[in-house]
Structures are given as structure tokens and as C-alpha cells.
Amino acid sequence: MTRLGVKVGSVSLKSPLILASGTCNFGHELSEYYDLSILGGLSSKGLTIKPRAGNEGVRVAETASGMLNSVGLQNPGVDYFIEHDLDYMRSLNTGVIVNVAGHSFDDYMAMIEKLDPHKDKIDALEINLSCPNVKAGCMSIGTDPAQIREIVSAMRSRTDLPLWIKLTPNVTDIKSMALAAQNAGADAVVLINTLLGMVIDIKTRRPVLRNNTGGYSGPAVKPIAIRMVAECSKVLDIPIIGCGGVMDYKDVLEFMIAGASAVEIGTASLIHPTCPVDITRDLTDYCKSNNIDLSDLTGTLELW
């Protein structure tokens, strides 16, 4: 393991950098820009049992330092993914994280049953209890500790694959959600998915997004994500994967100091597709000039 290597529970990653779900598809396009094997991992687009066409109309709205999306979990369905994309992701020589979404308890269980037989090709399942862009399920499950406990413990009894629970920031007390996941047998939590937002076109007096609301991401949301990682880090025993607004290596360091064992890069890839190459180089330099292993930073935050 080099100085960038990290462990998320039982999963060893060669770098803390993971491409966030929905911002790298299944890796095909970005591998035209750089060798994805420098990454710790890649999280697939959120998958569902059946293919989904996603939402209609305008799906993106820009803000001063971020964007809202209302893609609505467009994906080819888990069967198509297993047949066409999983082997490709495995061939990239980086961690394979499969992002799992659904509308109901049964959906999530059916997803586990589909994916568990392919466990030799998967490093972890990222359970998306947090997508704000679909009408039923997903985010509403992730805002209720009782439902989180029910769904995570049922998944736990059905698979040995590492379960990373991706939580929504659209809650009052993130700690109780993270604890519910931990107590139900989760291996890690991923903090955070997008924040629910709205942008209005003042000329038409209508929301820019055809779905009215969308998920807010990018540098604007980073302080919220950092706060949530720091809060959860104080109460959790399982590792945290930080996510939200990472644009450069300093953001990665900030997440790790707050308590993250690994860090996901989302919206930044949409702005600069090769930014993980720069971040990897800068983190390597940082470790060299400070003579530390990056994982030593995790949870070193001292609060006032």
C-alpha cells in the first residue's frame, strides 16, 4: 500500500478517492480521459430492479457555486448492468462499488438477491437511501431511523458483501440515521447525498427544473457535508465515506480530518473530468512533504 492507501472496514482501497454515483456512469466515458486505476473506487450510477427512463424536461439548474439535478435515477436496470457493465467496471482495476436504489423494502431485497451472486466482482454495495428525485422510497426511507434499521438488517441477513449506507442530509439529526444504520449491521455510511432545492426562473415564475425540485450538489454543500461527517465521527464505530463539494485535494484533507476514511468526488468530475488526476498528485505531494500516511489524518479534528 502506498501512502494514499486507506481501509474502509474490511475493504482496502489504493486511494481514498472514489467517483460518486451518478457522476461517472459506469466508467466508460471517463476512461477516455484518464486511467481510472489511480482511483480507490468507482460507484456505479444508482441502479433499480427495472430500467428507468428518469424525469422528463429540464434536469439541471445552475447556482453560483453548485448545481441542482433532477435526473430521477435514469438507469438501465440491474440485469442489464450485470450483463453489460459489471465486468467492465471490474476490469478497470479499481474498487467496484455498486449503488443500489429502490422504491420499497421489497425492491431493495430483490436488488441484493440479484447482486449477491456476483460478489466476487463487487467490493461493496452502496445502498442509496437518499435520492431526492424519485416520488416513492429512497429518500423517505433514509429520513426514518426505524425504516433504516429494518431495511439494513434485512439486507445484512441476505449478503456478506460490505454494505455502505448512503444517507440524505435532508434530516434534522444525521447522527440518529447513521447510528440506526450502524446498529443494523452496516459496514460504513456515506455522507452525503444531495440537498433538496429549487431554482426559479423569474421571467416565467416557474421552477427551472421540470420536476420543480432537485438535488443540490457542488462546492456550496461542502460545509454541510463536513459538519455531518464531524458529528457522526464522534458517535460512530464504523467508517465514514465523505462526499459533497470536493473540488481539490484540500477538500479531501478536510473530509478526512473531520472523520472520513475515504472521500467521493461527484460534481467536480462534471466540471473538470480529470480533476481526480490532479487531486491524486497533490495528495501524494502532501503526504511526501508532511511525511505522513494519508489514513493517519482520519478523525484528527479537535473541536473547540
Partner: protein, 251 residues
């Protein structure tokens, strides 16, 4: 490998009152680009802005984009000082089918830019090209020539009417391919005109984009579903398009 280029804006000129034409230094894009492709250009806004490639100069290693001012980002890029360095991703997306020997090119609005590149490329390889340009009125006319059929909605220049009025003046040849870029209603009209004449027709779509390279799925166009039971599918404008055969996506 593809990359994001830092390129210098060598020249900026105003083609009309609200449309600028930039000459950008980037030998790689000039070398690789084919007509119909676009670039995603950074400005001070959070997201990049997509623009069709309007021309390339392989020898001097430059390419051009035309920018109509419609908002903050386009306004900033249209007044950018010469010498400024901007980040550019490209060339992106799929271009036109250039395999035929004879073409009818049709442009409306900012479609004049990608269509200009198609014209230059096809003429340079000695192909037969008829050019039809539609503009709102005389003040909008740019990148034109006396060899072209020009129509204006207002009738203050060329043929009065839509570009269909221009198309109806052409003597058609066998296996001619129609390439059309413009507002959706115009592409619909040209597409069904071509269908009636049994000509293959390509159009180019515009959607709001973020990445421009196919990873975020925000820029989709509706397509008739291949599977039964699904009302439609979504394809990415940036990666699966922006050029589609007429009829492939639902307009």
C-alpha cells in the same frame, strides 16, 4: 486520451450586434473535430457552456465558435478580451454522416455555425453542396455567401419565408443527404419535408448540459423505446448526439 485544453482566444469579432465569433488556439481540437461536434467552454459561471464548432484551420491549429448572447455566460464569452485563456473540452459528441456525394445543408439561428463547418468540410472534399440559410431578418445574417439560398422571416433580405421556401427552389438529386441545425420547429419542418422527398435527414439537438461528456445524464432527448411496455427511452444529447437521424428522437 481526451483532455481538457487551456486555450488562448486569438481573435474576437462581432458578426452581428449580438453575436461574436471567436478564433481559439488549439491544434488538437482543430485536427480532430468533425462537423456537428461541439466544445464545452468555461467562463466564470459554475458550469461550462456548449457551442458548436463553426470552422477549423488545421494549418494554423485554430478553431472557431460563434456565440449569440442570450444570458450571462454567453454575454461574458462574447465580450472576452483577445488573449484570454479559457478551458475547453472537445471535440465532443457525434458529427454528421459525410459519406454521401451530395448534400443540402439547412441552418436557422445559431445553427448557422455548425452548418458552416459542414459546408467548408464538404466543399474541401469536392462534394456537391446546396446551402440554405434561414434568418429572422437582415440584421441577423452572418457567415453567408452569394452562392447560398438565404431566407428571412421578415422578407427584408433574400426569399421571404422559412427555409422551406428556400428548399422548394432546389432541383433535387438522388441520394442527397439533408443536414439541418436550428430551432426545433424548423428541424421538424425540414425533417418532414425531407421525408416527403425520401431524402435522409440529420438534425442536431440542444439541451441544457452539465458535463458534456455523457456522465451525468442531465441533457437527455426522448427516443421511441425499443422495448415494449416502456413509453420512451432517454438518450444523451451530448454523447449519443447532438446529431441524430431525423425520426430517431422525438421532437
Amino acid at each position: 486520451m481526451n483532455k481538457e485544453y487551456s486555450c488562448k482566444v486569438l481573435k474576437r469579432e462581432m458578426l452581428t450586434q449580438d453575436t461574436a465569433y471567436l478564433t481559439i488556439d488549439c491544434p488538437e481540437i482543430a485536427q480532430k473535430a468533425i462537423p456537428g461536434q461541439f466544445v464545452n467552454v468555461s467562463c466564470s459561471r459554475f458550469l461550462k457552456r456548449p457551442f458548436g464548432i463553426a470552422s477549423t484551420d488545421k494549418e494554423n491549429g485554430t478553431f472557431n465558435i460563434g456565440i449569440k448572447i442570450v444570458g450571462g455566460g454567453s454575454g461574458e464569452l462574447a465580450s472576452i478580451p483577445e488573449g484570454t485563456v479559457i478551458n475547453v473540452l472537445g471535440p465532443l459528441g457525434n458529427g454528421f454522416d459525410l459519406s454521401s456525394d451530395s448534400y443540402i445543408l439547412v441552418s436557422g439561428g445559431t445553427g448557422v455555425f455548425p452548418i458552416n463547418f459542414a459546408y467548408e468540410t464538404l466543399r474541401a472534399s469536392g462534394k456537391d453542396v446546396t446551402m440554405v440559410q434561414g434568418f429572422r431578418d437582415k440584421s441577423q445574417i452572418c457567415l453567408t455567401s452569394d452562392d447560398y439560398i438565404v431566407t428571412t422571416d421578415s422578407g427584408d433580405y433574400g426569399i421571404k419565408g422559412t427555409c422551406i421556401a428556400g428548399l422548394d427552389t432546389i432541383d433535387l438529386k438522388k441520394d442527397q443527404i439533408v443536414c439541418c441545425v436550428g430551432p426545433v420547429p424548423m428541424m421538424k419542418a425540414v425533417g418532414s419535408w425531407a421525408e416527403a422527398k425520401r431524402l435522409k435527414c440529420y438534425i442536431s439537438m440542444e439541451q441544457r448540459m452539465a458535463c458534456g461528456i455523457g456522465i451525468c445524464l442531465v441533457c437527455v432527448c426522448k427516443k421511441k423505446a425499443e422495448q415494449e411496455g416502456v413509453p420512451f427511452e432517454h438518450v444523451r444529447c451530448c454523447k449519443d448526439g447532438p446529431v441524430f437521424e431525423y425520426g430517431e428522437v422525438i421532437l
